[in-house]
């Protein structure tokens, strides 16, 4: 019985560098990592700092790195993560500045969230505040999954794009944008898609790291839906939407994703400066003898592919 909590320790007011404490906890391993932290704080070292409130995966406070991967401490049984040396390593969430021990500065996450204007903005907002605005069960269904988001920032901490480029809105903020964009009571669809595109909606790398959401919100599907909404709103002039639409265009024309046309279509055929910037990659490819075809012969029965696009009225780059 018992195991070791291997805890990241740091106090921004005192420490230049973090250190680690290994604390023996005499508890059964079927308890959660949060139980272990609470025990350590109550019985062994009262200075250990971490956020927690509800202890039942509703408040979203206790997200942290547990053995190198992020999740809610209150939802993670020790037995599930115990390493072979009988220890569990706990660290602050990555992609955030540590404040004290497992507590991080959440400001960048909240800033991106508040930029969304995360409240309903109905068309007749000023006429009658108290009027009931009904939503059909069908329309509400679209919002059920994202309504489970507890803003624990697990997805933000796991996002590899945020880790190198903090300008990216991150999965949670885009999922929340979806929550209002798809709400039939909200009248700011176009403003909302434009705003989130300014926060680099199209910089999502499709990696599905956010599929580890402890509340099964799966922001990735919402991110795709917001991109489609942006295209529907006619916001097609950035590289992101052009990239998606030129890929659609080449598949409809040839059945294949035509690499050389996709590069030109995304950057812009007449965007000389942009093309010069991507040129080194192309030159390196060419020097290695990797020359993708300039023209592609359509696959057999390409008419069938065009029928699929036309029947579904799927958009392509014009």
């Amino acid at each position: 019985m018992g195991f070791i909590l291997d805890i990241f320790r740091f106090d921004q007011t005192k420490d230049a560098m973090p250190h680690r404490d290994r604390i023996e906890v005499d508890l059964p391993t079927n308890l959660t990592v949060l139980d272990a932290l609470e025990h350590a704080k109550a019985e062994i070292d009262g200075s250990i700092s971490f956020r927690r409130s509800c202890r039942s995966a509703i408040c979203g406070s206790c997200s942290m790195n547990i053995n190198g991967t992020t999740g809610l401490a209150c939802k993670t049984p020790v037995s599930q993560v115990l390493k072979s040396d009988n220890s569990v390593a706990v660290d602050p969430m990555p992609n955030f500045q540590p404040m004290k021990d497992l507590v991080v500065h959440m400001d960048p996450f909240w800033d991106k969230y508040s930029r969304l204007k995360p409240y309903l903005q109905p068309a007749d907002k000023d006429s009658d505040h108290e009027r009931e605005r009904r939503v059909s069960p069908e329309d509400m269904k679209k919002l059920v999954a994202v309504a489970n988001c507890v803003m624990c920032a697990t997805c933000y901490a796991l996002c590899p794009v945020v880790s190198v480029d903090p300008a990216f809105a991150g999965p949670a903020a885009i999922a929340y944008a979806y929550r209002f964009i798809e709400d039939v009571r909200d009248a700011k669809r176009s403003e909302r898609t434009a705003q989130i595109a300014d926060d680099y909606l199209w910089l999502c790398a499709h990696c599905y790291a956010c599929s580890y959401c402890p509340k099964h919100v799966d922001p990735h599907d919402d991110i795709i839906a917001v991109k489609r909404a942006a295209i529907e709103e006619g916001q097609i002039h950035g590289r992101g939407p052009r990239h998606a639409l030129v890929i659609a265009k080449t598949i409809k024309a040839t059945g294949m994703l035509h690499e050389t046309e996709v590069i030109q279509g995304t950057v812009g055929r007449f965007n000389i400066k942009g093309l010069i910037k991507v040129a080194p990659f192309g030159i390196r490819l060419a020097m290695a003898g990797k020359i993708p075809p300039l023209f592609l012969k359509p696959v057999p029965k390409v008419d069938e592919i065009r029928t699929i696009f036309d029947t579904l009225e799927a958009p392509v780059l014009s």
């Binding site: 190198g68 590899p160 794009v161 880790s163 190198v164 480029d165 990216f168 680099y200 199209w202 910089l203 790398a205 499709h206 990696c207 599905y208 790291a209 599929s211 580890y212 799966d218 990735h220 795709i224 839906a225 489609r228 295209i231 590289r239 992101g240 990239h243 998606a244 890929i247 659609a248 598949i251 059945g255 294949m256 994703l257 690499e259 590069i263 950057v267 991507v278 080194p280 990659f281 390196r284 490819l285 020097m287 290695a288 003898g289 990797k290 993708p292 075809p293 592609l296 696959v299 057999p300 029965k301 069938e304 592919i305 029928t307 699929i308 029947t311 579904l312 799927a314 958009p315 392509v316």
Partner: protein, 314 residues
């Protein structure tokens, strides 16, 4: 005592060979032709037949969903209908993105009658129908499930001599787990198992399940290169001499962008092999046929150091 010498039962070549539907994907037909050719050479070595689905379309490459919610799924249903018509329900891919997106489309079709109905209504316009029998797998899974690590090990004639290889999975072959689920997406080990079976040493590093940034290479200058640099730095710091990936998109990103990430992450210069290249090399395929000279970061020196190939062929 008489010795009964019984001639081994000979089967016709076609009966011996297990046949698979083969979906090479766009990149293996365009900028990474060496992936296509090395896959075919490996298949020959393994005694399996990969029958290319030549009339198939692009899987949607994870991007087509951004334009329309149905079109990628119906395009894939068309591909599956072709595979079924050819009697090739077992479809093999050689790209992580193809694997993930074809499996996702198949899951949606099989789990949702309305979506299957929608797809077949459109396929019906040109006389096709998808019955729902196709299973999409990656070559990596075929190697382990159908060939077996022991058999691969026994076929090795040119062991990698301890070459330190960093596995790089690529996202769409492991995530989301609800779509792939063949192995743990947080702690996968199939590539490590392959590397060990062919005589290499698998390097453990946190970047192996992270994103290569391929899909945003054109979106914003520098971000994708940083993702490459971050991952390759981790691999290099753990002592990697080369990278092995089951995905040509990861290959293009890692091979093509390490030069751009050097300013922020330091030089890494790790040659990046396609999965079938390194397995075929260990199984004795002539290295000069594997297209390793088509890489931006040439693996020649690394291979020469481990007595695996003369430097000039790669």
């Amino acid at each position: 005592m008489t010795t009964v010498l019984e001639a081994p039962k000979r089967q016709s070549k076609s009966a011996q060979m297990k046949k698979y539907g083969f979906f090479p994907g766009c990149v293996a037909k365009e900028s990474c032709k060496e992936l296509f050719s090395s896959t075919m050479l490996l298949a020959e070595k393994l005694g399996i037949e990969l029958v290319e689905l030549t009339a198939a379309s692009c899987c949607g490459a994870s991007v087509l969903n951004d334009t329309n919610k149905d079109v990628a799924r119906v395009l894939n249903a068309r591909t599956y209908a072709q595979a079924e018509a050819l009697g090739l329900d077992d479809v093999i891919t050689i790209c992580s993105t193809c694997t993930g997106h074809m499996r996702a489309a198949n899951k949606e079709l099989l789990e949702d009658e309305a979506r299957m109905g929608q797809a077949n209504a459109i396929l019906g316009k040109f006389g096709a129908k998808y019955e729902g029998n196709v299973v999409v797998r990656h070559l990596l899974w075929l190697l382990i499930d159908d060939i077996g690590l022991d058999r691969i090990k026994s076929m090795v004639v040119r062991p990698l001599n301890g070459l330190k290889v960093a596995p790089f999975y690529g996202c769409h072959i492991i995530r989301p787990e609800s779509v792939n689920g063949w192995e743990s997406s947080r702690n996968p080990h199939s590539l490590e198992d392959i590397i060990t079976a062919i005589g290499g040493e698998a390097i453990d590093y946190a970047g192996k399940t992270r994103c290569c940034g391929f899909h945003i290479q054109l979106e914003k200058d520098g971000t994708a290169a940083d993702m490459v640099g971050q991952n390759m730095r981790m691999a290099k710091d753990q002592g990697a001499e080369a990278v092995l990936t089951p995905c040509p998109l990861c290959h293009l990103a890692l091979d093509g962008y390490q030069a751009d990430s050097a300013a922020r992450w330091g030089r890494t210069d790790l040659p990046t092999f396609h999965l079938p290249q390194l397995v075929a090399l260990a199984l004795g395929v002539d290295p000069s046929l594997l297209g390793m000279n088509k890489h931006i970061i040439g693996p020649g020196l690394v291979l020469q150091e481990h007595d695996l190939a003369p430097a000039h062929v790669a």
